[in-house]
């Protein structure tokens, strides 16, 4: 999903707080009216949205779990097309929901921004929520002749993405029974951390009523196959291809991050001039540009062994790690005067058996 043609209509901003010392809820400070942003400010607001939601490993489509009568999804849906007064009142309820979801006292306060609008080439209506932590900073300005440095507290939505979380409900077709016809997207800089108990869960689970999508195993395997196919089709040197495929094995198996994007792989391991071709190739095959939950549980043996073929009937099989650490493969000029290339394989191990 690319968040093009993002048009924001109404915006309400409320302030939410950390829980009191006894973990009781401190109610939000509500806004009296909707916000009006200048064209420049609106441009910056959109920029934050697209920056966060596009192709980052912390941004992904979620499965909607709670879609019943008192779910946030239903509350959000009721705001589509509501009058300004009803919209503002509804956003206050959403602020209350957020404070309720912030169970742990360590969760900081901040501002809650609720907004509606339309997005995508077909102008799909959406409701968005942003929980943004505030920062402090300095501003230098001129006051007549003298330059003044001011200290600003409570600024939010700076480019520091780790300080905000976004949830977006898209209503493609509200005439079907929820959650069908609805999509949820979440951006949270904490989401890719492999510790699932991490700070992110209260936002996307407790507050939004979503969970990580379950198509991780399928999408991971698909990513693996498509990327392999792409690399094979390139006109790179065989050795360079093998390097990239080596990296692919390591990348997919990485235990570091819970999620990944194809773009991460492309920008890390492909030559720069090939990165756009790669992105276009995946787009052509309808592989998502959003993040995918990394899950190799269904890839079985495919990741455990690598098989290299030389000529018609010589094969070398090894684990990706062993191949990387203990095997050196170099192409050398052939000795037979035919001008072809031979391969020199050095294995830093004894021969320990044969079949």
């Amino acid at each position: 999903m690319q968040f093009e043609n993002l048009n924001v209509d109404r915006i309400a901003v409320h302030e939410v707080f950390q829980r009191n010392n006894d973990r009781s809820i401190r109610p939000p400070a509500f806004a009296d009216a909707l916000e009006t942003l200048s064209a420049e400010a609106m441009g910056a607001f959109r920029l934050r949205m697209t920056d966060a939601l596009s192709g980052q490993s912390q941004s992904l489509q979620m499965s909607i779990v709670r879609s019943g009568a008192d779910s946030l999804l239903q509350l959000a849906e009721s705001l589509i097309g509501a009058s300004d007064a009803d919209f503002l009142a509804g956003t206050m309820q959403i602020a209350n929901r957020l404070t309720e979801s912030q169970l742990a006292r360590r969760i900081p306060g901040g501002v809650l921004i609720v907004f509606d609008g339309k997005v995508g080439a077909s102008s799909v209506p959406f409701i968005g929520v942003i929980k943004a932590e505030t920062q402090a900073g300095f501003r230098r300005s001129r006051n007549g002749e003298t330059a003044v440095v001011e200290f600003l507290k409570n600024i939010f939505l700076t480019p520091a993405t780790r300080l905000y979380k976004i949830g977006l409900f898209l209503f493609d077709n509200i005439n079907t029974e929820a959650p069908n016809g609805r999509r949820a997207f979440v951006f949270d800089s904490n989401i890719s951390v492999s510790n699932r108990e991490a700070a992110a869960a209260y936002f996307y689970e407790g507050f939004l009523g979503c969970r990580l999508p379950s198509d991780g195993p399928y999408e991971t395997a698909r990513f693996f196959d498509l990327t392999k196919e792409f690399v094979r089709k390139t006109d790179l040197e065989p050795e360079k291809k093998r390097d990239i495929i080596d990296s692919l094995y390591v990348f997919v198996r990485s235990e570091q991050d819970l999620t990944f994007t194809a773009d991460q792989f492309g920008s890390r391991y492909l030559p720069p001039e090939m990165q756009d071709t790669y992105a276009n190739f995946l787009e052509g095959r309808k592989f998502t540009s959003n993040a995918v939950v990394r899950d190799t549980s269904q890839m079985g043996n495919r990741l455990r062994r690598r098989r290299l073929k030389f000529g018609g009937d010589i094969e070398l099989s090894a684990s990706p790690e062993a191949l990387k650490d203990k095997v050196a493969i170099v192409s050398i000029p052939a000795d037979d005067g035919q001008g072809a290339t031979w391969t020199q394989v050095v294995i830093r191990e004894r021969l320990t058996g044969e079949q």
Binding site: Q2, F3, E4, N5, L6, N7, A39, G43, R46, L47, M49, T50, D51, L53, S54, G55, Q56, V119, G120, A121, G266, S267, P272, E273, Q275, D276, A279
Partner: protein, 331 residues
Amino acid sequence: MKDRETNLLDLWHNERPMYEAWGVFVSDTLKEIVSKQVNPTEVDLFFRLPLKHRTKEDTSLLAKAFHRGKPYADPYVDIEDKVGVRVVVLFSEEIRFVERLIQECEFWSAKKSRDFEDERMARPFEFDYQALHYIVRAKDTFQHNSVNILAGTPCEIQIRTILQHAYSELTHDTLYKPSIQAEPDVKRAAAKSMALIEATDDYFAQVREKIERAQAPVRRVTEFAEEAYRDFTKLIPQLSPLNTLLIDHFSQWTKNGFEEDLVSFLNEKPYLADRIRERSSELIYRQPAVILIYWSIKQAARQVPVNAPLSNEELAPFYSDLGMRLPESIA
């Protein structure tokens, strides 16, 4: 009875204001008709020296009439360059371009009085002063700046390249003085300079041709972008050097036949026109090249920022409009 010099000057003093006015009219008209043709190039850049008319001083008029050994039947009438306008251009082809406009102009009748190409044909071994001279005469009697200008009033227009102009500044009629005429090595040196100038003019033409050939694809893209911009945004672009800079960079993503694809790309994303209009207070968004920026991002999102003439801050909104993010490796 007055002598012939006083007679001539009396006549001249009487008519000089009319010749002044005619000179003003000729140079203004020339400027206007050339300007229409060279648009969008500034006409002041096309003329390598400011266009200015000049009427003859008394002394040079008398000298020409009676002391150059030229037997004029009626010197006042026969001297046709009592007022003159000089046009200096860069390339010799531009001389012919100006000539055509002079010939076609409706306000005067034009007669060629000197053509360096004819002179070259006639004396192929000689390298001397070169220019194209025309005498234009008012077709009808009319008023300009409240001065009456009689039909048939002549004005000389000299058209030369800046190189030819340099030569004539260098020699400045001195070559015809008897003292110089007696010095063959001075004449030889002058002829050598003129020969070099003519050769240089040939090289200039080659350079110009090569530049034009190299720029042809970019020019096509520029023209296409301007048309597409007008159609798409309904705005009047404000062309600036920034447009050239942008097109130079972003035209690398315009393959042969991209025009059709770009038009359907824009048709699929009509909202981009809203974004361009919203930001049209910024100069970038008044450049037709902005549509190429969107197009290039669509083609090669990751390569576009490399060596781009725009900062990341300037590029980010374009990505954002397309629902994308400026690539991290660059940002």
